[in-house]
Structure formats: structure tokens, C-alpha cells
Symmetry: C6
Subunit: 266 residues, 6 copies
Amino acid sequence: MLSAYRLREEPYYRPVGDEVGLFAAAAAARLPMILKGPTGSGKTRLLEHMAWRLGRPLVTVACHEDMSAADLVGRWLLEPAGTVWQDGPLTRAVRHGAICYLDEVVEARQDTLVAIHPLTDSRRMLPLERTGEVVRAHPDFLLCVSYNPGYQAAQKDLKESTKQRFGALAFGYPDPAREAEIVAHEAGVEAALAARLVRVGAASRALVAEGLAEGASTRMLIQAGRLIAAGIGFVPACTLAVATPLTDDPALRDALAALLDAQATG
Amino acid sequence: MLSAYRLREEPYYRPVGDEVGLFAAAAAARLPMILKGPTGSGKTRLLEHMAWRLGRPLVTVACHEDMSAADLVGRWLLEPAGTVWQDGPLTRAVRHGAICYLDEVVEARQDTLVAIHPLTDSRRMLPLERTGEVVRAHPDFLLCVSYNPGYQAAQKDLKESTKQRFGALAFGYPDPAREAEIVAHEAGVEAALAARLVRVGAASRALVAEGLAEGASTRMLIQAGRLIAAGIGFVPACTLAVATPLTDDPALRDALAALLDAQATG
Amino acid sequence: MLSAYRLREEPYYRPVGDEVGLFAAAAAARLPMILKGPTGSGKTRLLEHMAWRLGRPLVTVACHEDMSAADLVGRWLLEPAGTVWQDGPLTRAVRHGAICYLDEVVEARQDTLVAIHPLTDSRRMLPLERTGEVVRAHPDFLLCVSYNPGYQAAQKDLKESTKQRFGALAFGYPDPAREAEIVAHEAGVEAALAARLVRVGAASRALVAEGLAEGASTRMLIQAGRLIAAGIGFVPACTLAVATPLTDDPALRDALAALLDAQATG
Amino acid sequence: MLSAYRLREEPYYRPVGDEVGLFAAAAAARLPMILKGPTGSGKTRLLEHMAWRLGRPLVTVACHEDMSAADLVGRWLLEPAGTVWQDGPLTRAVRHGAICYLDEVVEARQDTLVAIHPLTDSRRMLPLERTGEVVRAHPDFLLCVSYNPGYQAAQKDLKESTKQRFGALAFGYPDPAREAEIVAHEAGVEAALAARLVRVGAASRALVAEGLAEGASTRMLIQAGRLIAAGIGFVPACTLAVATPLTDDPALRDALAALLDAQATG
Amino acid sequence: MLSAYRLREEPYYRPVGDEVGLFAAAAAARLPMILKGPTGSGKTRLLEHMAWRLGRPLVTVACHEDMSAADLVGRWLLEPAGTVWQDGPLTRAVRHGAICYLDEVVEARQDTLVAIHPLTDSRRMLPLERTGEVVRAHPDFLLCVSYNPGYQAAQKDLKESTKQRFGALAFGYPDPAREAEIVAHEAGVEAALAARLVRVGAASRALVAEGLAEGASTRMLIQAGRLIAAGIGFVPACTLAVATPLTDDPALRDALAALLDAQATG
Amino acid sequence: MLSAYRLREEPYYRPVGDEVGLFAAAAAARLPMILKGPTGSGKTRLLEHMAWRLGRPLVTVACHEDMSAADLVGRWLLEPAGTVWQDGPLTRAVRHGAICYLDEVVEARQDTLVAIHPLTDSRRMLPLERTGEVVRAHPDFLLCVSYNPGYQAAQKDLKESTKQRFGALAFGYPDPAREAEIVAHEAGVEAALAARLVRVGAASRALVAEGLAEGASTRMLIQAGRLIAAGIGFVPACTLAVATPLTDDPALRDALAALLDAQATG
């Protein structure tokens, strides 16, 4: 079951602290987990790593405000033989012992969040109100959610009664040496270039104080590195992969351009 | 009927006052009940205890603002032989004599709340307007609702005409000795550690005056205890299970860290 | 027809003034009626009494803002032989000569309210726009609506063109002697205890000036009386059945507690 | 066709001015008509009279904000032989030559109002967009709409491009002598009593300056008259049929009571 | 195809300037067109004239805010043999070479407006996303939209990316001599009376400065002329056909009455 | 597959800088792309050019706020043999290796934007939550989105977690010589006339400082050129194709008229 959700190869993951051990202990205690941190800080990567390590399928659901409880839990379909129930991604994970990952959970509506309550206390069950069935969670089932505290609006927050059902790990950007190691490995570039890209990233994060919504993620630096590896120049590659996506504001665009020029010559 | 909703083993419950006797008297008088109190203060536990004690199934519905009356009462399904009515969780409880528990009832829309009115006065009936059937309540049927007065918004309150149909019990945090007893029993840790965890909980509740939305529930303390029992250190376990889930505010995060350090060495 | 909606036994009703005669005259003139008054002041009881007295079924619909005209009038259902029309509660009452009672009518949307217009003038007909049928009202059909002027929001009011189609009766709390008589009869308690409960009710109603949303209804006093009759003490019974449901405000909770203590010793 | 919508007997109508001749000329010119005026000022009565006089069925639709274009024009129904189109009330009137009366048209949404545009210019056609059919209007088809300018909110007004497709007649309250004649005829009471009721009506209309939303309509006075004819006293009958429905404001209620007392003794 | 949408007789049209030649050139260049101008200024008439002249069917859609893209493009219907696609009015026009006229286009929602984008650039195609079909436009297909800049709210405007896909013609009221000619021809009245009616129209348009929403259209003057031709007096005919529909404001009503009196005697 | 989405002839494209090379490198790196710039600045043209050059089908979806995730991903249809899944345009592109172009992506709701997340990181997969299938992207699949930063409202912006998954190219108006070359080629007019049209465009863009929402696009200038080539005069052609569509403001209309007069004589 759920073989499409099993990782085919070991995902690259470079630990920052004791997060692997803590996550494993929480999983053993069946404690649902919140992963918090900025875009591209490695939340999804840790989960992929843990899914591989624990040998469990990983069912990811990108949350959004139009997602209904039925999108998670399941719905009735009309078949020639009548209406047939179809499990949603959460129900499949609950039945078959996957890690269910609700990405950007604060985007979801309240009905999503309360639907998971009976799965997060000692009951570990999912009542399918539309069928009358009560699904007892598989022992391997684990619920994880993520959000970015940086741009989480006041009106989009987890309810206290939801938060208190979870443990949590907080993520930040990796330190420069570790980030350069990741960029070099993922983009296939040499260490010096990776270090220059990491300096671009750090400088862009400093622009948050000037009004930039968010600095460049490690992912953006890797994308720039790949374009450079394919023969594009440093400035055009970083403009395309980092500066232009980040902002439409003329002053910030100029600041980012200056910052690229500063690294252009290594 | 409703065997999936019968408790399989006696739930652990540590009474705080005369709530068991009062609830039993209200149940005997068929008085619908409101349970009020903060997250994790034992409202659900009391209900599970009473369901076990009274030998009745417990049908729990987590309320949310997208829940319609049909989600409670039932709906028509299209089957090969035509449309077939399917009872919702409330109707099943009414017919077969269960306790129906509407958790966080103030989250529900008005149609949910008025749908229960004919069940809460001398009529004790549920008119299924979509079928024309009038279901008379089973003698064992009991309606219970809960909410948390602490973070209940002004616009989310029970209507007066709803409130006046119910009796109510108010819950608070247990006193330190009793809370330590619960933490020790549930987490499987010794009394001294449980007492340290309870001091963490009390200190976190004092931070509400500093802007924390809600202090740590007994449930959070139990979760921290379990991680410690599994070999995680006191501070990392409490950080993961208590401090990180509770807040994203830097000042409050520092205050929680200080508070953990204060208990770290017992 | 509508036998499920016929009262099985004569409901207890203690008249306050000439409301029985006035209602009977309005019913004879086929004048639709508004019943106004606070929660638990006897509006539903009068209607049950009149339904029994006039020998007509009573079809009650609890109004709410998600109720559509289809919930009142009827809808198409898909059956093996095709779509089949199913009368809603209003249409059943119109066809078969019941009293149709729209409880808390100001909660309903405009489409509910205008759907009843052709039933409330000389036409006395209900056009089923979705079938093309025009249902002429049975001679015994009577339309009644109720609302509570006390907490009726400005934006939730009957339209003038609706109001002017109705007669109206206004309800208040019964005077102390009559209320004590009702409490004693309904709760099965003796006169002295009933008088103490009635003093609790009157004192709670005086707290409206201090910010309480609404004072205790007669129904609440009866519920307290029943618990006392079952062996619960005066203060715990009144706390559970009156004070705790009424408010979450600490000052009002203290005022209610003081008021119970004042009556605790008779 | 549409026989259910033909009037069975000649409706009583007491003309106020030349409105019968003007309406007949507009109908002959196929000019769609707006009838404006307060509640109960005779708009519906004139239409019933003209429908009888012109020998045409009268299809009345009470407009509301939840009414969709499909409610007017028609919809697809699922039948054993597949989906079948069912004409709505407007389409039936257009095909078979009825007067279609949209009561309180400003309550309807824009889609209702623009759906009638092609019927109100030289095209006189109704495109059924959901079937692809274009229905040419029967020569006897006439469109009439009504609204009450008195409590028509700014945001609920006909669009200019709609207004300019219509002629219009304005209605007010009848003068005292004519109103007394109507009340006496309709309620079956003698002239002196009718005159007293008409004075109650006029006095209530003067209270609009004091904040009353709208004065008593002629209809309300007739309802009071009928109760008096059935044996109820003057003051209780007028209280039930006029004063209590009109307001919940204590000061206005007292003013209405004083006004009834003034007429109580003739 | 689309024969129901072909004009049966040549529509009367009195050109104001070179609009016929300009429109013909735009049609030859397949340039989509916007027609702008006040109510009744001849936008629809020009289109009917051009449809007749170019020998193309004219499919008119009155836009409104509840119109969905499916109302324009088409939808799936359930038939005995399964679901069957039914083209909407736009798709029919695209396939068979009609002029598709979206009347009051700014009332439509964004999904309507972007659905037409691929039809208005060099692609001239309509992707039916719900079927997967891509309909290439018939060479004779022409898209026209209209709106009234006078009462077009700020939040209801075409998007720049939509506007820039269109050419546009602006319409105003005809000059007095030409308007009198139109009124005389359409209402069947003599020149002197037509001139008086045209003076009424001009005077009403001057009242816009006093707060009138919009002056009388040529259409209104024609309607008044027809009533006069049928024997109604000048003032009652203009009151019914012009003054009463235009306003409910007492001061403006008086101003319109004075203006009618001034023309009453020729 | 997707042959309807293959371009039939090579689209004309005049490069502005190194955008063709950069886009090709990004496509080779499978980096999703954002194209930013004003209306008619060549975003769509570049994409058509690249689709032709790379030999891939181009599936364009015009985004709007009523577009649901189902419109992109697919939906269940009822067929005689039961419900059948139908891929949406995104899913077709993912399966068969097309470029999927989401035009004006900021108009789309959040559910559209998060639905594309798993396609834009190393997973390159599209989970069809309604079927349970996980579609792995074809190696040729490429995702492109566009928006206009000029009139993009604050509340309509890409989320940071979306932006950081893309590379981006920014577009502006071409310089005068290049724009004249494009206009001459596309409209079939000679260089001198094209230069005059380009001066009209530049002058209109300068009016943005005076309050014009957006200046004339190159597309508008081409449309004016085509009308002139068909025999319409310079001023009437530019009025119809440029000035009248651009604004309803009298002052801006006069400014545009003056600007046309200035170029009228070459």
C-alpha cells in the first residue's frame, strides 16, 4: 500500500543539530509534530530523511484555504454500482501507517484542523462522519504539520487547543559553512563558488530589515548554482534565480543588483 | 449498535471535586450539559469516564465553522436503488441512546446549534426535515457540549436561548499535587520529576499575564514526561513538547527557556 | 397525516392574561401570529396548548441563517424512478392543516420570510416555484412565528412588509406567585422551595442592568428544582442549572454566587 | 395553461385616481410597469384587478436576495429519461401570455434584473442560456415590478439601465373617506367603527416622525376590524393587530397605546 | 445554425457620425470592440444594424455578477447516455461565426473577462477547459462588449490587460434635431410633439447636476410618445413614462413635474 | 498527444536581450519560470517562441479568482459506465511534457498556487488527491507563470514560499527602433508610419504620471496600424484603437486627443 509515497532513493540531508534524534524519539512516542521555520530551511528535507530512515511512506498535503475536510478525509464517488467511498490522503495515511505531512497548515481552514484532533490524543482514531466508520490509526501513523512563523498572519494561527496536542522543532537558516557544503553538493559547483552564493544569500537576508519580505532560501542559491554550472554567468544566473523572483520594488531590486555585483568577481 | 463508540477499557480519571456525582444527577434528569474550561483541563476525560460508568457509547463531534447541520443530522446518498438516507452522528446517538459530545461547540454555525433545540426541552425529539421523520430520543440519549471561555471570541458565543437549555460544569487546572499525580501516572515518571514538570506548567500559565495565549496543559506536561522517560534530557524534552509549540514570540520564547533552565536541575 | 406532529398528551399551561382567547380569535380569523418575548417566557408552551385545544398538528421549525427556502418548502430527491418532489415542513403544514411555527424567525434569511408572504394575505396560497404547483392552504393552516426582541440585532429584524401581515402577542416573565406555581408543578417540589428558586430567578434578571445578557428563565428554575428533588443541594443545583450556564464573566459569576448564598438557607 | 394563476373571482378594488386607465394604456403599449408605494397601499390589489379586467393569468414572484436567475427562468431536472428542462415562473408567463409580477424587486440580485432586459425592449424575447432556446414573448405577456421607496436602501436600487425600460405609477395611502369605505367593506364593520380605525392608522403614520419604521397599512386596520367584528374589544384588537406587530420600542409602544386609548371610546 | 439569433427585419438606425464605417473596418480587421455610453444612447441599436448589414447572427448576453464562465462557455448535462457537453452562448458564437455581444460587461466577474482573452489576440481560440477541446474561432466571429462609463464603479472596471485587446467607440445622446427625428419615427408622432418630448429629455439631463442619477434616454421619450399617440395626455404620459421611473426623491420629482408643465402647452 | 496545443507556424519574435538563451538554460535545468512585465510587453510571445523552438506543446491557462484547483488538475465526470476522471490542463501538460503557462497567476486563488508546489521542487510530481494517483512529471514538462507588477494589488501577490521555487525574467517596453520594427512587421505598414505610431505609444506611457492606468501596449499600436492600412485615417484609427479604449476620464481623453493631433501630420 501507498508504494507511490515511498521514497525511491535516500534523500540528501545535512543535520544542523540533534533534530534527527529528537524527531525519532517523538515518533516513537507517537507525538504529533510541528515543524516551524522560513521557506527552504529544510523542514521538508528533514521529513523526507526521517521517512526514509523510519521506512514509512510520506503523504504530503499542501494546505490552502479552499481545502475542505473532505479533501483530507475522503468523499463519496458515484460508480456504476452506486456511490463508493474513497479515502482521502489523511485517511490513507491513518489506515496504512504513513507519515502524513500537512505543509503550511495555517493556510487550512478550521475544519481541517479540528478533523485531526481525535488523531492527536490518546484515542488515535479518525471518525469518518460521512460513512459512520471509525478508523483506528495504524501504529506507524504519524502526523506532522509545518508553517512559517515569519509571515503567518495574526488571523491565521493554530488554535491553542490544536497547538497543545503537538511537539515542535524550530528551523533557521544553516550556518555559512554548512550552507556552502549543501549548495556545493546539490548544485554540483565547487566550494569557492558555493561560498560566493552563500554570501549572496546572507546579504539578501539582511535586506529584510530594508523591507524585503524574505531573504533567499538555500534552494534559490542551489538554483543559481545550477545555472552557472550550465554555463550562465554569475550575475545573470543570480539575477534570474534570486534577485528577480524576490521583489518588484525598484529600490530593493537595485540593492540586490549591487549585492550581486559585489560578489561577481569572487 | 454504535459498538465502535463504546470505550474498550476504563479510562483513567482523577476527580477534582463532586463533578462525577453532579454529572450523574444531571444525566439522570436528562439535563443537557455544558463543560467549560481551558485546553486539557479534563473535560473530555470526565466525559469518557462518565460514558464508561454509565455504560453508554460516546459519539464525539469536533465542531468547526464549516460543519453544516447535515454533518450532524444526516444526508441523502445516491445508491443503485436510489437515494438512501444516512444518519449523521447526532441522529445515531439520538436513536441508539449514546452520549453525543459536541466538542468546541462555539465554533459551530448557528444551524448546528438550533438543530439541537428540540432535543433539549421536554420534546426530546429530532425532526429530520429532509426526510420528514421525527426521531424520538432514546431514554439514554444525553447531549453534552464543551467550550473554552478563555479564548472564545465575542462573536462566537452560544445564544441565550441555547444556553438556557443546559446545565453546566466549570473546569480549571488541577491543584499541583493532583496534577503531579496525574503526570506521574500517565507519563510513567517518578514523583520528583512529575513535580518539576508541574512547576514548569504553573510557571508557563503565569506567562499569560505577559501575553502568552494559554499556559501549558496537563497533557503537554505528560508528553514532556514521556520523552524524558524515553531518554531525552529535561530541557530538550520540555523545549520540544512545551516551549516550542506554545509560542513564536521571541520574548516569550526566552521567558519559557529561562523557566525551563530554572527547573533543569530539579 | 402529520400524526407525528400531534401532541400525545395535554401540555400543562398556566395562562397569564387573555392570551388564549385572543389567540383563538386570531386563529378563527386566520390571522398569522407573531409571539414575542424573552427565552423561556412561554411562547412555545402557549402554542402547544393552542395546538392541543384546536386539535391541530404543530410543525415546529427552528430558524437559522443557513436555512434556505428549500428547507421550508421542499426539494427534489433523486429516486430510482427519477426525481421526486418532497414537501418541506411548511408545505406539509399548508396542505394538511397544521399550525406551522417558525421559532426565532429573525434568524432566517430573507428568502424564508418572503416565501411566506402569499400565505399571509387573502391569497393563502404557496406557489412551489420549483414544481410549478400552487398549493392552496388547508382551512386549518395557521402560521405562527416567534422572536426575542431583547437580543434581536438591528440587522436582524422582520421587514415592515412582513410585520404588517401579522398580529402579535407580547410575552414577559410570569409574576412571582404564578411562576412559583409553575416551578412547583413542573419540578415536583414544594411551594417554599419553588418560591426560593423564583427569588433566584428575579435576582438574576436584575443583573441584566449589571451586564448579564439575560436573566434565568422559568425553565432554568425548573431544572434546578428537579436536581434538588433528586437529592442535590440547593447551591450546587442552582450553580449547575442556573449560574454556570448564564455567564463566563468573573464579576457576574460572583454576583450570581452571592445571590445563591442569600437564598441557600431559605 | 396557467389556469392555477387565473383569479377565480373579481377582486374588490376601489380606484384612487386614473390608475386603471393609465395601466390599461401601458399594457396596450406593452410597456413594462413599476408600481411604487408603501406596504399595503394597494399595489398588489391594482394588479389583481387589472389581471381580472384584462383576462390574463397573474404569476407573482416574491423577490429576495437568494433568488437566482434560475428560480425565475427555469432549470434542468433529472428524470428517468435524462435531464428535462422545467420552465420557471417568468418563462411560463412569457410563453403563455400572463402578467408576471416581481414583488419587491429591489430585493432581487442583479442577475434577476438583467435577465429581464431582453423582455423589456423591442426584442421582447427571453434567451434561455442554459438550453439555447430563445422564447419570443406571447403578445399578452406583461412584466410588472414593485418596490417600496420608503425603506429601500441605497445599495438596493434598480440600475438606471433597468429603470429606463419601465413606466411607473406611484401609490400612497388612500384619503380617509376612501380608506374608511375600504375598511368597512373588507372587515364587515360599520362606518363609524371604520372611521375610528382609519384615525388609528393616520395617527400611527404620524409616528414615523418619532421613529416608527412605517405606519399601519390599510390591511392592518382591516385585520383589527375583523377581530372586533368577531367580538374582541377595540383596544385589545388594535393592540394585537396594529400596535404589537409595529414596534418593540417602549416609547413607541406607549405612544401607540395612548393613541388607541384616544379612539377607544369613539 | 443560430437562426434564432438572426434579425428578421432591418432594424431602424439613424447614424450619428462615421460609426458604421469604423465598425465595419474593425470587424474586417477582426478587432474586438467596446461600445461605451449612457443608457439608451444607441449602442445596442448600432450592433443590431451592423449584424443585419454584415449578415451575421447576433448573440446577446446580459452580464451580471452571478454569471459564471460556464454560463458563457458551456457545461456538462446529464443525459440517459451519460454526460453531454452543451455549448454556452459564447461558444456557439465562436463556432458558427456570430457577433457575440456582452452587454454591461463590467458587471461580469473576472472569470468571464479572462475567459475571452484567447479569443482577442492572434490565437482567436477558445479552450474549453472542461472538455479539453480547443475551439478555433469561425472567421466571422466578432466579440463586442458594452458598458456605461457614467455609473461604472471604481471597483467594476475592465482590467488593463483586457482593455488593451479591444478597439472602442464612444456614444452620447443624439443632437436635438436627430433625436426628434428618431422619436417621431419610433413613436409615430408628429414633429412638433417629438420636439417637445426632446426638450423634456434635455431638461431632465440637465437635472443630473442637481443629483438625478441619469437623464431620460431617447427610449423613454419614445415610450411617452406612444402613450400620447394612444390618447393619454402629455403630462400624465410623461409622468408615467419619464418622471416617475426616474426618481423617488421629492425635490427631483417636483423639478421633473415643473419641467413637464413647462412643455405641457407646447 | 496535445497536438491541438502545438503551434502550427513559427511565431514572429524579436528578442530584446539574452532572454532566449536564459530561458533555454532555465528550461534545461527544469527551473520553473516567472515572466513579469506590463500588458503587451511580449511575455506571451516569448513563450510561444520558446515552445516552437523547444518543440513542445504550449498549454495556456488564463487565471482568475474563480478558478479552482479542479479547473487545473481535473475532475470526475459522470459517464454511462460510472464516474470517469478527466485530466485538467495542468495534468495533461504534466503527463505529456508540455509547457504549462499560467497567465496572470496572481489572479488565482491560493489553492491553485499551492497545488503546483510539488511540481516545482525536486519531487516534480502532481498528487491527484481526488483519485489517489501521483503523476510523475514528464521530463519535458515546464511550468511558467506571468504577472504584471504594475497593477498587482498588495493582497494579490505570490506567497514567498511560491516565489522561491521559481526563476524570473522581467520585461519592459521595447526601445523605439525595435518597437517600430515590430509594428511595421505586424501591421504591414511602412517604417515612417510605424515610427509615428510608436511616438503615440511613448507619449501615452508618459501619461501614466498624469493618472492613466497604463500606456498603450505595442499590441494597440499594431491594431491602429492595421486600421490605417485598411484605409481609416490616422486620427480616427488611433482614437478607436488606442485612445478610446484606454480611458473614460475627460482630462486624459483630451490629453490623448492632443497627442494624436501632434502626430497626425507625421
